[in-house]
């Protein structure tokens, strides 16, 4: 039996192996009948019959189980952090995977380096798969001295449909009988799961959480939510989402608070740090499995509304190096630049926003990656000259004042006004390997268009 490469002999060996292994393993018939009954019952809306896996104590025997209950009881009294009432992350996961709708109040609070807090409240509805509805409510700005500025924007409803290749959102303003329909193409943006996160953090967290292994979570104690005792689990944001494009390893964590009695998640909170900025997104209390009719997510019944079509396209540039002759200077209006093109690693991504009904129809935002030393230099300058207005000069063609620089890690986002170009044209004109990358993108778009959708 040494010449296995000869197909005839190999065929003989495979046949012999398969026959020796027969009869092939099958699921016992009585187990099949049992599972089938559970499945049919489930399809009719009944609850799944608990399996042996739902009753872990049984594995250890009655005596051990009784001892464990006693020990857990003592620990719960003495040490609240351990008193999860026997709720494990796996119990929470089981619930996450068995529901199809989620709704609740969302609060997003962004704290700026000077201590100002911008908070937005809304009510969100999510229906699996990919249907979102956000009803915006109120904006509150809390200044460092504690004073508040409240504003209630016009009533609006945002309906988002997430599709495999792009996303359509419809923002309705019922009082004005106006609607803005936005087509977002983020597929080439390198955003990965962060794409979904930017569209609907709570729903994304729901899906990503179902993949989070127990080993990544830690217990964070107990608290009450709406009068119900809850146990907390936390995991690093990196474990939930993977590296954040353009920023690197994300700083922050996700917290899930689940009922101590049923393991049903009652609150999800995502805490993100971006440089000196701090953001908290929280849904609490969560309602799972509510009957949310499809009409809540219907984006076609907008008769009588004036509809504005907005397009937003974000794309990562796979060959980001600037052409040798292209220049970039960022610095105060008087004096020399703080950084220039020699400090630029590349133009790594771009976003085009096209709003044809507005006076300024095009917005083109390019993300530049700086060297680490240059990014530190720029940040240091901004810290030392907080009131200084910066000026950006891109290739001598586009010059603008830069009022609100965002410097996070080594990446700066700059709106190149009035760069009325498609991102592909930007690539070809200014990036060293742009032509080849742009051609590849054209091919991708062509392939997408020629693939029949299901």
């Amino acid at each position: 039996m040494s010449d296995w490469e000869f197909d005839g002999e190999e065929e003989h060996v495979v046949a012999q192996l398969l026959n020796e292994a027969s009869p092939l393993k099958k699921m016992p018939e009585q187990e099949k009948r049992r599972v089938l009954e559970v499945l049919k019952n489930r399809a009719e809306g009944g609850a799944a019959r608990p399996t042996r896996l739902d009753r872990p104590a049984r594995w250890r025997g009655a005596a051990l189980a009784a001892a464990a209950v006693f020990v857990l009881g003592v620990l719960a009294v003495l040490w609240p952090g351990v008193g999860s009432g026997g709720i494990a992350w796996a119990d929470v996961l089981r619930h996450l995977e068995s529901v199809h709708t989620m709704s609740g109040p969302l609060k997003v609070a962004v704290t700026a380096p000077d201590g100002t807090v911008h908070a937005m409240t809304a009510r969100i509805y999510f229906k699996d798969p990919g249907l979102n509805r956000v009803e915006k409510n109120e904006l509150v700005v809390t200044l460092p001295d504690g004073s508040e500025e409240r504003s209630t924007p016009p009533d609006s409803v945002v309906i988002v449909r997430q599709l495999p290749e792009d996303t359509v959102s419809l923002e309705l303003f019922p009082e004005r009988q106006e609607a803005i329909r936005t087509e977002l193409d983020l597929t080439g943006s390198m955003l990965g799961p962060w794409r979904e996160m930017s569209l609907n953090p709570a729903a994304t967290a729901w899906f990503r959480l179902s993949e989070l292994p127990e080993s990544a979570t830690r217990s964070i104690g107990r608290r009450e939510i709406e009068g119900e005792p809850a146990v907390g689990f936390a995991a690093p944001l990196a474990a939930l989402m993977g590296p954040q494009p353009l920023v690197g390893e994300p700083e922050g964590e996700v917290q899930v608070w689940a009922s101590a009695a049923t393991a049903v998640p009652l609150a999800v909170e995502i805490r993100t740090e971006l440089g000196e900025w701090f953001k908290v997104e929280k849904v609490e209390p969560i309602t799972w499995g509510a009957d949310l009719p499809d009409s809540m997510f219907d984006d076609s019944s907008i008769e009588g509304f004036t509809i504005h079509e907005r397009k937003m396209h974000t794309r990562g540039f796979p060959a980001p190096e600037l052409k040798p002759e292209v220049t970039l200077r960022i610095g105060p209006e008087t004096g020399g630049p703080v950084v220039n093109e020699l400090d630029v690693v590349g133009a790594v991504a771009g976003t085009v926003l096209f709003e044809p009904w507005k006076r300024v129809r095009y917005h083109t935002i390019i993300t530049f990656e700086l060297t680490e030393e240059a990014a530190e230099r720029l940040q240091r300058f901004l810290n030392e000259h907080p009131d200084s207005r910066l000026q950006v000069d891109f290739n001598g063609e586009f010059v603008r004042r830069w009022f609100h620089p965002r410097v996070s890690s080594r990446f700066v986002q700059i709106e190149l006004f009035p760069l009325r170009k498609r991102l592909i044209d930007f690539e070809i004109e200014y990036l060293a390997g742009g032509r080849e990358a742009a051609l590849a993108e054209v091919e991708r778009q062509r392939a997408l268009r020629s693939t029949p959708s299901q």
Partner: protein, 206 residues
């Protein structure tokens, strides 16, 4: 099953039609069960429970199944993996068992691309546990391969009849069997090698 049939079956499943659920379950139960069985330490009760949880979860998430991204069996195996891990953790019966199967999965992925270069080990027929290895191997193959191998080599279905059943030609079936044997050979080598290594390591540590 043609794409059209597959889509029609998926639609019936999405509507939770009892007959569709029964056909779907019976069509995949044995292969999922075998896949799970060896990964939960050959515990029949636990395997059956994991299979139940897998199918219940899959039925709940059936809208997420995309036939363009792989067969139903591949998706069911994917759904089963978290439940297998949870079952093994809960029981703590398989110290290190999870790692072995994770290594096997990783190697199977790379082996799939280099299937033609692998050879079955020369002592393959002397192995005392080869029957179990064969079962494990079949459970980890793409379903079209394992079904074809069983139909032809175990049930002795002639090529012409297999071709007629699947609506293809005898030469297409022959080609399918050739690829199936290559995949079998490659997976068999990976699984037997990793289990051997795992067994040796556990003996060293015990």
């Amino acid at each position: 099953m043609t794409t059209q049939q597959s889509q029609s079956a998926s639609s019936a499943l999405r509507r939770r039609e009892p007959r569709a659920i029964e056909e779907w379950f019976l069509d995949h139960a044995d292969l999922v069960y075998t896949f799970v069985y060896f990964r939960v330490g050959k515990d029949a009760e636990v395997a059956a429970d994991v299979v139940q949880e897998t199918f219940v979860a899959a039925l709940e998430r059936i809208d997420q199944y995309d036939p363009n991204r792989g067969s139903m069996l591949v998706w069911l195996r994917y759904v089963s993996r978290n439940r297998i891990r949870a079952a093994n953790r809960q029981r703590a019966r398989l110290a290190g068992g999870d790692d072995i199967w994770e290594r096997i999965d990783a190697r199977l992925e790379s082996a799939a691309t280099a299937a033609a270069e692998d050879r079955l080990p020369s002592d393959v027929l002397e192995r005392s546990e080869r029957a179990e290895l064969v079962q494990m191997t079949l459970a980890n193959l793409p379903d079209r391969y394992s079904r074809a191998l069983v139909e032809h080599y175990v049930e002795h279905t002639p090529l012409a009849e297999m071709a007629s059943r699947s609506g293809t030609s005898a030469s297409a079936v022959k080609s399918l069997l050739f690829r199936a044997r290559a995949a079998f050979r490659s997976a068999f080598v990976v699984i037997s090698g990793e289990l051997d290594a795992g067994f040796t390591a556990s003996r060293r540590t015990s």
